[in-house]
């Protein structure tokens, strides 16, 4: 450690290698992940969300909702996520490719929200979420600063959470964006990579040996062009 230059190069190399390995390595794998086109349905998944829902993701992030809620469903043998009805399959990287700031979260003080908009048997409605945000619950704070008190002119707003004596409590634009975002959270499409890997069935001990396949097995790799194809 006497040579300062070598020392600096060493510690810098350590940082650079970890950056290249973890950050650039995962980017190389996930950066080109494309939507999955389903020919039967004639569209690509995941679907893009509406503009208001995309804005809502920023509201979700700036309020710090990820401090209590995750947005990732794990596979059935890893936790009780699916048994709790938080999703019917594990979350995969493709679910998030249209999200500008994925909010995976690291704490579950509240339920996972990855599929809030597709909850079974009945997903929450817009009115349910406005009510929760305005009134709160024993386990959820009331964020009344997301609502405005306005005079009723004509008919009360259909989004009003409270109407009395000519006044109404209506959600602000931020609250509307947030609720639109929460209701957009749903990952119904079953991508091939989201299906659990089935372990190969073990043959029974007294089962007969499998017959030799009648057809020539497909080679693992394409044959080299310079190499002659095997004669049949």
């Amino acid at each position: 450690m006497k040579n300062g230059l070598v020392f600096f190069l060493g510690v810098f190399a350590a940082l650079a290698i970890s950056f290249a390995g973890i950050v650039l390595g995962s980017h190389a794998q996930l950066g080109r992940l494309a939507p999955y086109f389903d020919e039967n349905e004639g569209q690509a998944f995941p679907l893009r969300t509406a503009g208001i829902a995309t804005r809502g993701q920023y509201v979700y992030a700036d309020l710090g909702c990820a401090a209590c809620h995750t947005q990732q469903v794990r596979r059935p043998d890893f936790g009780s996520d699916q048994a709790r009805g938080w999703g019917e399959r594990q979350s995969v990287a493709r679910d998030y490719i249209h999200q500008p700031r994925p909010q995976l979260g690291a704490s579950r003080l509240g339920p996972d929200l990855a599929n809030l908009g597709g909850r079974k048997p009945t997903p929450p409605t817009e009115a349910d979420l406005y009510k929760l945000l305005y009134e709160g619950s024993p386990r959820h704070p009331a964020y009344q600063f997301l609502f405005d008190r306005r005079a009723v002119t004509g008919e009360p707003s259909p989004r009003a959470v409270q109407v009395e004596a000519g006044r109404q409590i209506v959600p602000t634009e931020r609250a509307q964006s947030l609720v639109a975002y929460l209701l957009s959270l749903n990952t119904p499409y079953d991508y091939p990579e989201a299906r659990p890997v089935q372990p190969p069935a073990k043959p029974a001990a007294n089962a007969p040996a499998p017959e030799k396949p009648a057809v020539t097995p497909i080679p693992a790799a394409a044959p080299d062009e310079k190499q002659p194809l095997p004669k049949k």
């Binding site: 940082l15 710090g64 936790g79 990287a93 386990r139 009331a142 964020y143």
Partner: protein, 482 residues
């Protein structure tokens, strides 16, 4: 490559004593006290925020009407004030002081450090306002808004200049472990921050690659920045308060390079089972296994601390045990079978608090208690405040970690059973969470005592550089406050 002679003879000890307050200390006094004062101010602020968040956990309605302090924002504020306010300022002060002393010359370019400290603290303050008003990034340990991150990178680099110059222009050819850790932390953090900004702020990666990059940064901040800053002070002080050579010192380079090379690779621990490539958490398991060599070396090197006396020794002893425990628990929780229990629960929070408060902060406290009298030329102003801080902070950290671990254990078991609703799960751990709020209150009280003691000590700072009679026997300085 030894830090101190063994079996110190009286005349040798006397010569060493006369060097306890040196021109190097006097020259760096005010810039380092500025850093330390800022650190302790942020520590108290983060304590207030920690108390608020801990109350919000069991009483969600608390301050819910205040948009600046939603639970998520208050958490981000607490974490940012603690890491970038307290730990960064204190760690930088210690690293500069250690590098100056081991360099053998008064620190150069201290003007840069003062200006850097000013901008760093302005940047942290602006960042906190930004978080409170909705500009947080929502990445763990990097919640600061994008617009203050470049300022912080430049401010940090400015503070680091005197330390790097002290390393480059050192009097001796050989180097010490304290210098390796100090210089590595000074040099690496700006690059770490710039790397994270590049892929999370300026050119954000796609989808969950952002979570991987955020994990890389968070673990890098822990292993390449905070831990080295704390270890720099501990390695420097250890031989001085024990009067012995650091045992098994020849293995110290192995401990250092293992931490530096393997540390950031453990970032995938928190993504086990998540929507990221499977090799990311697998690499974290491998890297966590490699890191056990680092913890083993640290345990071997710091053995003499268990026989040492004095306030600094007690803090370093506590910090060492917590640091090693954190390393062991991080290794265990990197395995999928255990992660399925601990993930997303208060067990993770308990391990994080054990590392940040029990490990890093205690090592920093130990270094501060050793350093401040030598910088100011005065013993600590109040023995009562010193003892009060030590007893309260240690008891509070134990209480905090234990209560969070108990809550996390219950939560982990219940979360695995889908028949138990979330309301029931949190009803069962309410008592433990209430006790953790008590622990946060104790921590706040303890750190207020330290702040008062520091202000009283620093405000009667001597201006001469001569060795004072007090430092003829520096051992008593450590002992009489214990």
């Amino acid at each position: 490559m030894t830090n101190a002679p063994t079996n110190v003879r009286p005349e040798v000890a006397a010569r060493a004593v006369s060097a306890e307050v040196t021109a190097i200390d006097a020259h760096a006094r005010w810039p380092i006290l500025f850093l330390l004062g800022s650190a302790l101010g942020w520590l108290v602020i983060s304590g207030v925020l920690a108390l608020i968040t801990s109350i919000q956990v069991h009483s969600p309605a608390y301050l819910a009407d205040c948009p600046w302090l939603t639970f998520g924002r208050a958490q981000a504020l607490r974490e940012t004030a603690f890491v970038y306010g307290w730990a960064a300022n204190a760690g930088l002060a210690i690293a500069l002081w250690v590098l100056g002393r081991l360099g053998g010359y008064p620190l150069r370019a201290l003007n840069w450090a003062v200006v850097g400290t000013l901008f760093w603290n302005v940047g942290v303050a602006v960042g906190l306002v930004g978080i409170a008003t909705g500009d947080m990034t929502s990445f763990s340990l990097l919640q600061l808004p994008r617009y203050v991150q470049p300022l912080l990178a430049f401010a940090y680099a400015a503070i680091a200049i005197p330390g790097v110059l002290a390393w480059g222009g050192r009097r001796t050819e050989g180097t010490y472990a304290a210098q390796w850790y100090g210089v590595a932390a000074l040099f690496l953090f700006p690059w770490l921050l710039i790397g994270a900004q590049a892929v999370l702020g300026w050119f954000p990666l796609r989808g969950t690659a952002q979570a991987v990059a955020a994990g890389w940064y968070a673990q890098g901040a822990w292993t390449l920045w905070l831990a080295p800053l704390a270890l720099a002070g501990a390695y420097y002080i250890l031989p001085k308060i024990t009067g012995r050579v650091v045992p098994t010192y020849e293995s110290a380079p192995l401990g250092f390079w293992t931490l530096i090379f393997a540390g950031a690779w453990t970032g995938g621990r928190h993504l086990i089972g998540g929507p990221v490539p499977a090799w990311v958490p697998t690499m974290a398991v491998v890297a966590s296994g490699l890191l056990t060599f680092h913890y083993l070396v640290i345990a071997l090197n710091f053995r003499p601390i268990f026989g040492a006396r004095g306030t600094a020794a007690k803090f370093i002893r506590f910090g060492l045990v917590a640091y090693l425990l954190t390393g062991g628990l991080e290794f265990l929780t990197a395995f999928r079978g255990i992660a399925v229990q601990t993930q997303f629960t208060f067990l993770s929070t308990a391990i994080e608090q054990l590392g940040l408060y029990g490990g890093i902060s205690m090592l920093l406290f130990g270094a501060i208690y050793y350093m401040v009298p030598r910088l100011t030329g005065n013993a600590w102003a109040s023995t009562g405040l010193t003892v009060g801080h030590r007893v309260l902070v240690m008891a509070a950290v134990v209480l905090l970690v234990v209560t969070l671990a108990v809550a996390g254990g219950s939560q982990a078991a219940d979360l695995l059973d889908p028949k138990i609703g979330l309301g029931d799960i949190y009803g069962r751990i309410r008592l433990a969470l209430l006790l953790s709020s008590g622990a946060e209150l104790l921590l706040l009280a303890a750190n207020l005592l330290l702040l008062v003691n520091f202000c009283r000590t620093a405000c009667v700072c001597r201006t001469d550089t001569a060795t004072t009679p007090l430092f003829q026997e520096p051992g008593t300085l450590e002992v009489h406050v214990s």
